[in-house]
């Protein structure tokens, strides 16, 4: 076979492109999902939460969370008129099996579901010495459990107490915002199981997402705004006593 100089000049760049795609390896697990098209967040509507614990149970099942550790949990606040700043907070077994019946006495009671706040300027990812935890291009704080040493720096750094060391794997574990579900077009396990719609997964990069209208028309707050973490879990009607 004779190949002219002209043909070689045409073939070489084509071969280079082909070789590059070979080197790039296998594509992502969800072929139609583009990370740059999303910026995930969560809306928690406190007046809708009934403290049933469905979210906690669903999260433990979906993500094989070991007993006694929580990627999400529910707290019950009891604020009395005499002491507005230091409320009584309980969370028996993370609220997994519900709460004791609240007596009709002085003060107010309400539930606050807690989870990873998926901070845009997260303290936990900044302290990792090996680059095992990071913010994905679509705004989810994730842990690379093959790379994690289990040193626990991130567990200490999180101002919301959302991380733990997995008792068997001995590595950091946390809410992934059900990354394996949201990349397939599903909602998170906690949102799927919430009977009242108190939790809503939201995509801040999607102009059609109802979150934009909600944020415009409601008093929404994030936890510990003074920490400047860029938290992306938005709480509707959050009481000032919540820490």
């Amino acid at each position: 076979m004779n190949i002219s100089r002209r043909q070689i000049l045409i073939l070489l760049p084509a071969a280079a492109v082909a070789w590059k795609s070979v080197l790039a390896g296998t594509p992502e697990a969800s072929p139609n999902y583009k990370m740059t098209d999303h910026w995930w967040s969560m809306l928690i509507d406190i007046p809708k939460c009934i403290g049933c614990g469905n979210c906690v149970r669903a999260c433990q099942i979906e993500n094989d969370v070991p007993d006694g550790n929580f990627r999400t949990w529910v707290e019950r606040y009891h604020v009395t008129d005499e002491n507005m700043v230091s409320p009584e907070v309980i969370s028996p077994d993370g609220g997994k099996e519900g709460f004791p019946v609240a007596a009709e006495d002085a003060g107010k009671y309400f539930f606050v579901p807690k989870m990873c706040n998926q901070c845009a300027d997260s303290p936990c990812t900044q302290v990792c010495p090996v680059g095992a935890t990071f913010i994905s291009p679509d705004g989810v704080v994730l842990v690379d459990q093959k790379y994690c040493l289990g040193c626990g720096y991130c567990v200490q750094a999180c101002p919301y107490g959302c991380r733990y060391i997995h008792p068997e794997k001995k590595v950091a574990d946390k809410c992934t915002l059900c990354y394996h579900r949201i990349t397939k077009g599903l909602t998170t396990a906690c949102c799927e199981a919430c009977p009242t719609g108190a939790r809503q997964l939201a995509d801040l990069k999607d102009p059609k997402d109802p979150i934009h209208e909600f944020l415009k028309t409601h008093s929404v707050q994030v936890l510990k705004p003074q920490m400047a973490t860029g938290a992306k879990v938005y709480y509707n009607d959050l009481d000032g006593s919540v820490r």
Partner: protein, 157 residues
């Protein structure tokens, strides 16, 4: 020439540095994962690994594609916005292959009480009862249809 001769020990030392640097580069090439730095200071392939975790809750859209009869009843009732797996549990195994697992009907005496037991901490507008007073311990589905529970909307069993 004499300059080189007198400074030979320095050249040996410099050579050692160059050699160590080369060893470092070669070792680094093998030790650092291929995808490290793809998106930032982390292993890019980790994102795909996390996304590959198996799904356990099938999602209500999947349930509704087969059980449209239940959807018709439920969408007219008070439980229209309660997703299937909020009560029936994680059923992705059943959704993938209906013969692989038959869902067990939940015990309404336990299930309904989780949400509807009266408590001062619950929102005032949410329907709540004291189970012992309300039904004297009878299972809720003695009277209510769980998919459309309001009695005045034809929800009585």
């Amino acid at each position: 020439m004499s300059v080189f001769k007198e400074a030979r020990h320095l050249f040996h030392f410099a050579g050692l540095f160059v050699l160590a640097f080369l060893v470092f580069l070669v070792a680094r090439h093998y030790v650092v994962p291929k995808s490290f730095g793809e998106y930032g200071h982390y292993r890019g392939a980790a994102i795909g690994e996390i996304a590959a975790h198996p799904v356990k809750f099938a999602g209500h859209q999947t349930c509704e594609s087969c059980h449209s009869d239940v959807l018709d009843v439920k969408s007219k009732g008070k439980h229209a916005h309660v997703n299937c797996e909020a009560c029936h549990g994680a059923l992705a195994i059943h959704a993938d292959d209906p013969s692989a697992m038959t869902p067990v009907l939940p015990d309404t005496a336990v299930l309904c009480a989780r949400c509807h037991t009266a408590s001062a901490a619950k929102p005032k507008g949410f329907p709540q009862v004291v189970p012992a007073d309300h039904s004297n311990g009878l299972p809720c589905d003695t009277c209510h249809k769980p998919h459309s529970p309001a009695m005045d909307a034809g929800g009585a069993n």
